[in-house]
């Protein structure tokens, strides 16, 4: 990566733009058959496989229970008796809106907190290089060594002593334990690739370390920030076990726990509402991501050139 970044940094803006234009120019030269084989066919295949389960979930969302249980009479791939009952049940018979709100609050807080901690830690490890930094950098990964299935019992006791059970804080404080290490590692990579001269110049100009971090280093690591945020956000959004154990009240639950615990009644699954819960909860996030993803992917080259 360093080589690539150095290479990119060496290029002037104009040259980079020219390069991109050239690449686009080249793509027009590629034969149609080549592009179908290399781009569209695999893309279509990937999209089909990645999205088919969603199609299936959408079907379940809008099918009536009766239709779900009648395979032979109907063609299963289409909806014959579309209904909004499942969505209605989800939105009005359960606390789904408040689950989504809780999940948002918890996820955003845990993400912000983790990124803050990780930025500080990565900066210290990678740029300050205090004594023992390398070992600390490695030790952070010990976080992944013991899975949550064992950690949650002692954590539960701790959280109850701190009187945090059933509060969103119980999750906001515990999620960073599995988010910080990944984010730190990601930032370490980005920070390492930033030329030291930039920082040294700023130091000589009398900037403090905090100023350097905020004004010099972080802007250069924007793609890293986005990438870490996407990762942290998604992981917290998905978390199940801690949320199940630490929260009790129905309105306090997160979306995955709420949907699973309240739409499965012993051996009866409310398929339609379960799938509606999965889809409704994912769509806003997907739309949110559509803004960031492009930024995340495309800003990487530009970021280093300032």
């Amino acid at each position: 990566m360093t080589d690539a970044l150095a290479q990119a940094a060496a290029d002037s803006d104009a040259k980079a733009v020219a390069a991109i234009r050239e690449r686009e120019g080249m793509s027009y030269l590629q034969t149609v058959r080549y592009r179908v084989a290399v781009v569209y066919l695999p893309l279509g295949l990937f999209l089909f496989i990645l999205l088919f389960p969603f199609y299936w979930m959408t079907l379940a969302t809008f099918k009536s229970n009766r239709e779900l249980h009648m395979y032979k009479g109907w063609s299963a791939m289409l909806i014959h008796e579309p209904t909004l009952d499942n969505i209605k049940k989800l939105l009005f018979d359960t606390d789904y809106p408040s689950w989504i709100w809780n999940t948002m609050v918890i996820t955003v807080s845990a993400t912000v907190l983790s990124i803050f901690c990780a930025v500080c830690a990565a900066y210290a490890i990678e740029r300050l290089r205090y004594r023992g930094a390398r070992y600390v950098g490695m030790a952070i990964f010990l976080a992944y060594l013991v899975p949550p299935s064992i950690l949650f019992i002692p954590l539960y006791t701790m959280l109850s002593t701190l009187e945090l059970l059933d509060s969103p804080l119980s999750l906001i404080f515990t999620y960073p334990t599995f988010l910080i290490p990944f984010c730190t590692w990601l930032f370490m990579g980005y920070f390492r690739s930033i030329p030291y001269e930039l920082e040294e110049c700023a130091l000589i100009d009398g900037a403090s370390r905090v100023q350097i971090l905020l004004k010099v280093v972080l802007p250069l690591a924007v793609p890293g920030l986005i990438s870490a945020a996407i990762f942290a956000f998604t992981l917290s959004w998905n978390e199940y076990l801690y949320a199940l154990v630490f929260l009790n009240s129905s309105e306090a639950k997160t979306a995955p726990v709420g949907v699973v615990t309240e739409l499965i009644e012993a051996d009866v699954y409310h398929w339609g509402s379960l799938m509606a819960g999965a889809l409704l909860g994912s769509l806003p996030v997907a739309i949110l991501y559509s803004f960031f993803v492009e930024h995340y992917v495309s800003s990487l080259t530009g970021a280093v050139k300032e």
Binding site: M1, I180, F231, Y296
Partner: protein, 321 residues
Amino acid sequence: MGPDAMAVSAAAVRGGARPGGFLSRLNHSRNMLGLIFMLPAAIFLGGFLAYPLGLGLWLSMTSAKVGDPGKFIGLANFIWLTEDNVFWLSVFNTFLYTVVASVCKFALGLWLAMVLNNHFPFKALIRAIVLMPFIVPTVLSAIAFWWLYDSQDSIISWVLLGLGLIDHHIDFLGDPWNARWAVIIANIWRGIPFVAITLLAGLQTISPSLYEAATIDGASGWQRFRFITLPLLTPIIAVVMTFSVLFTFTDFQLIWVMTKGGPVNSTHLMATLSFQRAIVGGSLGEGAALSVAMIPFLLSAILFSYFGLQRRRWQQGSRDD
């Protein structure tokens, strides 16, 4: 610490006498500053991780059960496990699951990243859509897969039957090997997007001029991939794959929803077996031992990545060592 770092520290020590006082000295002392910057992360990792982790290690050496703290029994839990066929089966399953799923996620993820790196209409939208499997809460996508794999009305079986490719329903989760492949495929499905999007970010950092130069020199497509793309992507591959391996190795939700470790334990991973024994069965000590038994494998994965892949590449440009 490199010599220049020493020099800066020395300057910081001398700097105490200079105007600017404590703050300026703090600003120049790498160790002090380092400590302060590390503090937020240290609080969370120390408080909410190190302590419970220590407790987990301790539990693994006790006979603790639900409602009974138990007593210290040394390595008895581990010896116990070595005599347990189900444990060894879970070790085998975990390795199979991790290796196959990680390799596939990497290969398919890289392929998808390279496809997405091209120009096509609705690029931004499609890149976001590709992330969908990663966004849906795992428990819920696992339920959806469980249904897709249903032994009586799996849509996959129906379609294949309709096309006349098979003559009876596929027993996706009922046959040990079918079940293993089925859960691995679900895991791959969930994992591809993150690998792909992150590798895509890596791909974008590679200057097109390198490819042009190589093309002019007459390099084939494969050679360009092998000698430009792959080496330049190695650091980001290292990060993504280490995490992919770690998360696959400790996967729990997917299996728990779809098979609970069945049929006849053929999809039990170490993490699910640990949960089964510790929480469902109530032998906290034995369950903890099962978790601790995962540590050496995870540790070696981390060390391999850290020393083998990541460090070599990323350190090349830095001037510290």
